[in-house]
């Protein structure tokens, strides 16, 4: 549900956020914002606090200082009812799926609808089945339990569950980690398609260079407890800070960059889907 009048409002505003576990400082004074309709990526080395930041954004953890506004609400000052309402407006896909073992895949995806709406069982099943089809899972999988799925299928099912309530904001934690290149490319396309179709704002943590080059509109680099830089991948590629440069050195990074350039040249004439939505609204 993109609100047409405010097409460039900030969906997430992080300001002066600090987190520490005991003596160990994770974040000190992090500030950035995520705009509506964009695909925003958080990158950084292991232990740089990406996951902690994500957990703080989805109300699983509290920062020690600073403010965090998501969809216009200050997360530090939420009443329980507001928190619940907010939770229904975003979807989260966990790194390892977070699917409930005791439910089938179809029931997992239908669970948010069953919990939060008064829809009939058949309609819920139909919609859950469609969401699963949208994420590329075959109907045979629907009756299976999460333990019977491969890692890639679990991610897809988890994504389908995150999309069950048609959220405005989608958080993806390592959407392509552990996937074969073909499935990972499928996720690239899927993320873009979802944004174009629903006007979703997507925040993701990823190490996947292809995903970053192909899909992310803007990227924030976390290192040394701070945000080192925010910008598009091509802007970041020009920067000189060592923490940022790390992501653009090495053969894998260069290959991903090169591939992205080629594709840009080929599709230079085709406008971006997101812009289309904005023009239309």
């Amino acid at each position: 549900m993109p609100a047409p009048s405010q097409s460039r409002e900030n969906v997430i505003e992080v300001s002066q956020l600090s987190t520490h576990f005991g003596d160990h400082v994770v974040h000190s004074g992090i500030t950035f914002e995520v705009r509506r309709g964009e695909i925003f990526a958080l990158i950084g080395g292991s232990g740089s606090g990406k996951s902690t930041l994500l957990r703080e954004m989805i109300l699983l953890q509290r920062p020690n200082a600073g403010t965090l506004r998501v969809l216009g609400h200050d997360l530090g000052k939420l009443a329980d009812a507001q928190a619940l309402a907010l939770r229904k407006r975003w979807g989260v896909m966990f790194q390892h799926g977070g699917l409930f073992e005791s439910l089938t895949v179809l029931e997992n995806v239908g669970l948010p609808l069953r919990e939060h709406t008064g829809l009939g069982q058949r309609l819920i099943d139909d919609i859950a089945a469609w969401k699963l089809a949208m994420t590329g899972l075959a109907p045979e999988v629907h009756a299976q339990y999460p333990s019977q799925l491969s890692g890639g299928m679990m991610k897809r099912a988890s994504l389908a569950r995150a999309l069950a309530l048609d959220p405005e904001l989608l958080f993806l934690d390592e959407p392509t980690a552990g996937l074969d290149p073909d499935s990972a490319a499928g996720v690239d396309a899927l993320v873009r398609e979802l944004r174009d179709l629903f006007g979703l704002t997507i925040v993701m943590i990823t190490h996947d260079l292809d995903l970053l080059w192909q899909v992310a509109d803007r990227v924030a680099v976390l290192a040394d407890t701070k945000v080192q830089a925010v910008g598009s991948m091509s802007a970041l590629a020009q920067m000189s800070q060592p923490a940022v440069k790390k992501f653009f050195a090495g053969p894998r990074a260069r290959a991903a960059q090169e591939q992205s350039r080629q594709q840009e040249r080929q599709s230079a004439a085709v406008p971006q889907g997101a812009e289309q939505i904005e023009v239309a609204s």
Partner: protein
């Protein structure tokens, strides 16, 4: 900023050939509209109009319902057309229409077919699963025996550290609970017997009652049941969790036999610990009986022990103690077996743990009954 107001989705029919749709056609706003939509009829054959300009919010659920309504009305023969839907909503509707159009109506039904399995089918499935499990248990016992035989042939392969650790955790750490419960059991047995014995003036026979029942039956049985709940479940949960986290597979690929590292030490440790615990339970149980005998029947400790030595033969003591290693083997084997049968996730660990406790208590009592039959045939 206030949370966005959710206006419930609504449908109205101001004239027979027009429909007005309004409100939030999304998962949270749709409410009970689903049932209402089933009764919407457009009587006029052609040129009906559905005005969607007042729809404020639209998501998959709304699009799904709207598309179903439209296709139903169209298949009824009315040429209904949709007007005024916002362009971004129309895009979603088009995607849903494409999906609904391509959907094979039998697709979902096939998946749910096996849910409606009849009682008889389910009975058959359960029975064959139980049989398969019995066969698997037999196989597991065989494998464990082979592993044990291998260790006996090469004693250097026996792992003493885990054996000693298991003796401590399953044996020594269980002393307080085993002691307390068997003491209470002795108290109860003596108390229940006291009334009857007093009527016949046979107070001194309380030593026979407590001695024989505790030593032959109650002490081994209560100890085995406590240990099944305490250690059997721990074995199943530990091995089950290791199976879920692929630790067992890792062990196999590293050339370490899980049976030797995980199962044998537990079986050996419990076979050593359970008889020792049973002796402890014997002592505390008889002590509980002695206290009741003195307070309720006036039988002093000295008298009690005098009679006890005469009443309880060494055979009775050995019969009770001899059962303990068998119970120990049952508990350890069933606990480990159920642990290894864990597959899938956390859910399965819980299920297998429960199963290990239920089955080992069941088998312990069955074995006890078989012992009773055997001893009465042998006249022990």
């Amino acid at each position: 900023m206030k949370p966005p107001q959710v206006t419930p989705a609504a449908i109205a029919q101001p004239t027979p050939q027009s429909l007005t749709l309004s409100g939030c056609w999304n998962a949270l706003g749709i409410g009970t509209l689903e049932q209402q939509l089933g009764s919407v009829r457009v009587t006029v054959k052609a040129d009906a109009v559905a005005d969607a300009s007042q729809i404020e919010a639209f998501d998959t659920v709304g699009a799904w319902l709207l598309q179903k309504l439209l296709s139903r009305l169209r298949s009824d023969g009315s040429g209904v057309s949709l007007q005024g839907l916002r362009p971004e909503f129309a895009k979603l509707l088009a995607v849903v229409a494409q999906q609904l159009g391509s959907k094979d109506p039998n697709q979902n039904r096939a998946a749910s077919a096996d849910r409606g399995a009849t009682m008889l089918v389910r009975l058959g499935q359960e029975a064959s699963a139980a049989l398969a499990q019995g066969a698997a248990l037999l196989g597991f016992i065989g494998e464990s025996t082979l592993a044990l035989a291998g260790c006996v042939a090469h004693p250097a392969r026996l792992r003493w550290r885990p054996i000693l650790y298991n003796i401590r955790s399953a044996g020594f750490d269980a002393l307080p609970i085993v002691g307390l419960l068997s003491f209470l059991l002795g108290v109860v047995v003596a108390y229940q017997g006291a009334d009857q014995l007093r009527q016949y003036g046979a107070n001194i026979f309380v030593a026979d009652l407590v001695g024989l029942s505790m030593l032959r039956e109650f002490a081994p049985l209560i100890t085995a049941i406590i240990i099944a709940g305490r250690s059997g479940s721990a074995y199943a949960a530990q091995i089950g969790t290791m199976a879920v986290t692929e630790e067992i597979d890792a062990m196999r690929t590293l050339g370490i036999a899980p049976l030797e590292l995980l199962v044998l030490p537990k079986i050996i440790a419990l076979v050593i610990a359970l008889p020792l615990l049973t002796v402890f339970a014997d002592m505390l149980g008889v002590f509980g009986g002695m206290i009741m005998a003195r307070t309720q029947l006036g039988v002093g400790f000295g008298e009690f022990l005098d009679r006890f030595v005469k009443a309880v033969s060494l055979t009775s003591y050995a019969v009770g103690l001899g059962k303990a290693p068998v119970f120990a083997a049952i508990i350890a084997v069933v606990g480990c077996f159920q642990g290894f049968r864990t597959h899938g996730g956390a859910d399965s660990v819980g299920r297998q743990t429960t199963r290990s406790v239920v089955q080992s208590i069941f088998l312990v009592i069955v074995a006890d009954a078989l012992f009773s039959v055997a001893f009465s045939v042998l006249d022990l």
